[in-house]
Amino acid sequence: MELDDLYQQIILDHNKKRAGYGLHPGGFPSHQYNPTCGDELTLTVRLSEDGATITAFEWEGKGCSISQASASLMTSEATGMSVIEFESFANGFRDAMRSRGTIALSEDEYGDLAALSGVSKFVARVKCAMLAWVAAEDSLILTRESLN
C-alpha cells in the first residue's frame, strides 16, 4: 500500500479548499461522530422546493484530511443531483470504500471523487471517508421525515 494511493494531490487540495464548508440555520442537519479519533461533522442537505433535487451541501466539522476532502469532494460532485441519483451515487461510493481495494471509483461517474478510491485499501480510514456521506444520507432521511 503506497501512501500516494491514499493522499492524492486532489485530496490534499480539497482538505484545504473544503467546498461547502459553513452551516446556515434551518434545514435538517445531521451530526456524525467517529469515536476512535473524536472527529465530528455536521452536514445539512438542501433540497429544491419540490424536494427532488439537492441544491446544496453545507457542513462543518473537524477531522483528518480524508474526512474533510471527502465532504468537500462530495459537495463539488453531487450538488445538483436528484435525490434518487444521489442515493445510488452514495451506495456506489460506500461499496467502493468497503471493497478493500477491489472496486475503484470510475472517473467518468465520480469525477474527482475517484481520487478517494485508494482509501479502500486502508481499512482504518474508510470510516473517515464515509463520515460526510453518512451525514448526508441521515440529513436526507430527517428531511423526508419532516415532509410526512
Partner: protein, 422 residues
C-alpha cells in the same frame, strides 16, 4: 464404538500433542474434556504466531499493525459467532462462561438498584427459576441477585434419574417468574435437557431465559437461535480453545436493553468528566483491551473442529459414550449418577464406587494413566440431591478412542480390589 476409522482417529490425535504425554508411566488417557479440553496444535501455533508477529492494539490508532489486528479480531468474532449460529454483534466476549452469567446477574443487580431499565429490575418477591442440576456458575450469581433484590430462588426439581422436564420447570413458575436459568446439559449428568421447551415456557411467561451451554458447545451442533433463549453462555476452553475467553450470546433485542456492567475505554462514543455515551453491543460490554490472541486461537480451534465435522464428532462421542456408559453400568458396586436410559446424552458419565472415596478412585485411575475428574464438579447441591458428596467423572472429546474407554473400564473394574473392598 468409535465412529472414526483408526486412521482418522490417529490423525486427530496427532493434532493434540498432549496425548503423547505419559502419566505415571502410562500413555495418557484423557477423560476430563468436560472440565477443560486439550488443545489442537494448529490453533495454539496460530495464537503464538499472532502474539509474536502481529501484536498491536485493537480498535485504536491508524498504524497498519493495529488495523490488521483489528481485522483479525473482528474476523475471529465473526467465525466464532458463525460456529454457534449467531451474528457477530450478538456475541460478547468474556473471560469464561462464569463471567458471562455474572454479567447478566450484575445487570439485574445494577438495574434493580435504580429501578431501570424495567426489564432488568427485580423487586422483592420476584422469582428466579434454576434447576436442581446447575453448576455453581449458574446458581451462585442468582443467589447474589436474590440477596440484593429480595427476589426468591425457585428450584425446579429433577427426577431421581437426573432428568429435567419442562413440567418440572413449570411447577415452580408463577406470575412472579422473571428469570429462568438452566443448563443445556449438566456437567455431572450428561443428559441433554429439553432446552427449547423450557425456553419457550420461560419466555412465554415473560421471563428472561438464560441457557448454560458449556457442555453442549463443541460436542454437537450448537445453534444458539434454536434454543429460543434470551442469553446463551459458553467457554472456549471446553471447546478446544484457550483459557481466558468465553462468550455471552444474547438476542439483539436483549443486548440492546441490557444495561452496561463493565465500563472503560473502547466502549464509548463521547466521554466527559461527568458522563459518557456508549457504543451498541458487543462493544458496550467489552471495555478495555480485548482478549486478542485468545479470540484468534479460539476461532482457529473451531475451524479445526469444523474441518473434522461437528456432526461426525457428535456421532463419534455419542457412540463411544454409549459404550462407556454400558461399561460402567456393568461394573459391580458402581453407581451411575443419573439414569443411563436418557434418550440424549453427551459422552460423559459420573459415578460413585461403593466403599471407595472418589479421591481414591481418581488417584488409582491416575496411577494407570487415566485422567478423570473427581469431587463435586462445582455442583454440590446436585450431589447432595443425588445422595452423595462427590463423584468420579469420565468425559470424552473428539480425540477419545475405544482404547481409552477400554483402559478406563479395566482400571475402574480393579479399583475396589485395590482398596480391599473387592
Amino acid at each position: 464404538m468409535s465412529q472414526f476409522t483408526p486412521e482418522k482417529s490417529a490423525a486427530i490425535r496427532a493434532e493434540f500433542p498432549q496425548l503423547s504425554e505419559t502419566v505415571s508411566g502410562h500413555p495418557l488417557v484423557y477423560l476430563d474434556t468436560a472440565a477443560t479440553s486439550l488443545r489442537p496444535r494448529l490453533a495454539v501455533d496460530l495464537e503464538s504466531e499472532f502474539a509474536l508477529r502481529h501484536t498491536a492494539a485493537v480498535n485504536r490508532g491508524a498504524h497498519s499493525l493495529a488495523a490488521e489486528a483489528t481485522e483479525a479480531y473482528d474476523d475471529a468474532r465473526a467465525s466464532i459467532a458463525a460456529f454457534v449460529g449467531a451474528r457477530p454483534n450478538q456475541l460478547v466476549f468474556t473471560s469464561n462462561a462464569t463471567e458471562s452469567i455474572n454479567l447478566i446477574a450484575l445487570a439485574f443487580q445494577l438495574a434493580s438498584a435504580v429501578g431501570s431499565p424495567a426489564r432488568f429490575s427485580l423487586a422483592t418477591g420476584d422469582e428466579i427459576v434454576v434447576s436442581e442440576a446447575e453448576h455453581h456458575a449458574n446458581l451462585i450469581p442468582w443467589q447474589e441477585v436474590a440477596r440484593q433484590t429480595g427476589a426468591v430462588i425457585r428450584v425446579a426439581p429433577i427426577t431421581d434419574g437426573g432428568e429435567l422436564t419442562a413440567e418440572a420447570v413449570k411447577s415452580v413458575m408463577s406470575d412472579r417468574t422473571r428469570i429462568v436459568a438452566f443448563s443445556a446439559v449438566s456437567n455431572v449428568l450428561g443428559i441433554t435437557n429439553p432446552v427449547r421447551a423450557i425456553s419457550d415456557l420461560g419466555r412465554g411467561a415473560g421471563a428472561i431465559v438464560v441457557v448454560d451451554a458449556c457442555q453442549s458447545a463443541a460436542h454437537g451442533h450448537l445453534d444458539v437461535e434454536s434454543y429460543g433463549a434470551d442469553f446463551v453462555v459458553f467457554s472456549a476452553h471446553k471447546m478446544y480453545g484457550p483459557t481466558g475467553i468465553g462468550a455471552l450470546w444474547g438476542t439483539t433485542k436483549i443486548l440492546a436493553e441490557m444495561p452496561v456492567v463493565l465500563t472503560g475505554g473502547a466502549m464509548i462514543t463521547r466521554v466527559d468528566y461527568d458522563s459518557s455515551d456508549y457504543l451498541p453491543a458487543p462493544a458496550k460490554f467489552e471495555p478495555g483491551t480485548p482478549r486478542l490472541t485468545q479470540a484468534i486461537g479460539w476461532a482457529e480451534s473451531l475451524r479445526y473442529v469444523e474441518s473434522i465435522g461437528v456432526d461426525a464428532i457428535a456421532a463419534h462421542e455419542e457412540a463411544l459414550g454409549a459404550d462407556l456408559l454400558a461399561g460402567v453400568a456393568d461394573i459391580p458396586n458402581v453407581r451411575i449418577l443419573g439414569t443411563a436410559d436418557a434418550v440424549h446424552r453427551v459422552g460423559l458419565v459420573s459415578f460413585a464406587v461403593d466403599g471407595v472415596h472418589p479421591h481414591d478412585v481418581g488417584q488409582y485411575l491416575d496411577s494407570r494413566g487415566i485422567a478423570a475428574r473427581v469431587g463435586h464438579h462445582c455442583a454440590q447441591p446436585l450431589h447432595k440431591r443425588l445422595g452423595v458428596d462427590s463423584s468420579t467423572r469420565f468425559s470424552l472429546g473428539m480425540y477419545s478412542t475405544s482404547d481409552d474407554v477400554a483402559l478406563a473400564l479395566a482400571a475402574l473394574a480393579d479399583v475396589r480390589t485395590f482398596f480391599g473392598e473387592g
